[in-house]
Symmetry: C2
Subunit: 192 residues, 2 copies
DNA sequence: GTCTATAAATAGATAGAC
DNA sequence: GTCTATCTATTTATAGAC
């Protein structure tokens, strides 16, 4: 198999395992086993665990950029685009109840490890933040960045409690609440 | 030294280390080193790492109960008591920016490990939830539990983003936003 | 109740054959 | 590019002296 394909398979498997089990918990053996590789061959593709982590974050950055571009192109209004973001909580509800938000949990784990890639992991958040800020700016909001952080904050809070209580209905209620908030906060007809 | 004192020192040290470094990352050697104990003697007090975790969670439950009782006694109105909760985000801001919320991050780590004590860790959340629900009920809110979860959700979201972006001002703004929300959502003079 | 010594398993990482 | 074999460090955990 071409090295590029094997490398991609490793990064894909690591991405999934880092999400489901955590970065620190996941061993080389775990990843190698999923890919069907010997531990020895592993080191041909990646010299250290931190290199795999960097590749995983790069992959997440690329996947997120593509998703944001699709939302940008696929929804007509800024509000609809913001709701595209909010509704990933519904789309990924089951996985979030099991393992939390992949962005938030990696960020918090690397913070605890005081890991060199801590800020790089947070850059995935920044992609969402910039996307949301653009939508609020388009809606004419002066504090577009503050509102972007607010939406990001709420989605993180919902994910955290969804993991703790594993309550589907709670997620649905909070998503509905965010839609109501968005409609009230940014009405389609300008305020007086 | 009496066994009880040493045990308490171990649990205290483990509590801090589990928070700062994470549960999985923290080794017996780490804890023993903080307490100034040999690894061998460690096993006189705790047979497994899971036993220490259970003791740490029991300690957190007790400490939280005491804190909630103090808030209940120390603030005159339900709204002031809710704000006692919200303002721990300010009081613990620096630690939260470094290591996240101790309750949320342990809950998410144990979820990923699919750990037997996962639900026990979530019980700390339930203490806060019940406390907040009582305050909203006292304010005459019919959906007191939903509002309690909402406040808990926002505090978790703020903690998660505070860890990712390490932005003090963001925490302050969101705490101010929660106070405004509380005043608007539950006005002192009843609505028409 | 605390210690040293040590076992057994697993981690990350390397060397060298094919 | 993939393998087996191996190294070294660290982990959880135990035995037994004091």
């Amino acid at each position: 198999m071409p090295a590029q394909d094997t490398r991609e398979q490793i990064v894909e498997a690591a991405d999934r395992l880092f999400y489901e089990q955590g970065f620190d918990t996941t061993s080389f053996a775990d990843i190698a086993s999923v890919v069907g590789l010997s531990r020895g061959n592993f080191y041909y593709h990646f010299k250290t665990k931190d290199e795999i982590l960097d590749a995983v974050i790069d992959r997440r950055l690329a996947v997120t950029r593509a998703m944001l571009n699709a939302w940008q192109a696929g929804a007509e209004t800024p509000k609809a685009r913001i709701m595209s973001f909010v509704r990933i909580l519904i789309a990924n509800r089951a996985k979030i109840m099991s393992h939390g938000c992949p962005v938030g949990t990696l960020s918090s784990e690397l913070a605890k490890l005081d890991h060199a890639s801590r800020d790089k992991a947070a850059a995935v958040f920044t992609l969402f933040r910039d996307f949301l800020r653009r939508q609020f700016a388009e809606l004419g909001e002066p504090d577009a960045d503050g509102l972007a952080l607010h939406v990001l904050m709420r989605s993180q809070g919902v994910a955290a409690l969804a993991t703790a209580f594993r309550d589907e209905a709670f997620v649905d209620r909070e998503v509905a609440g965010m839609e109501r908030w968005l409609d009230t906060r940014c009405p389609d007809t300008p305020r007086n």
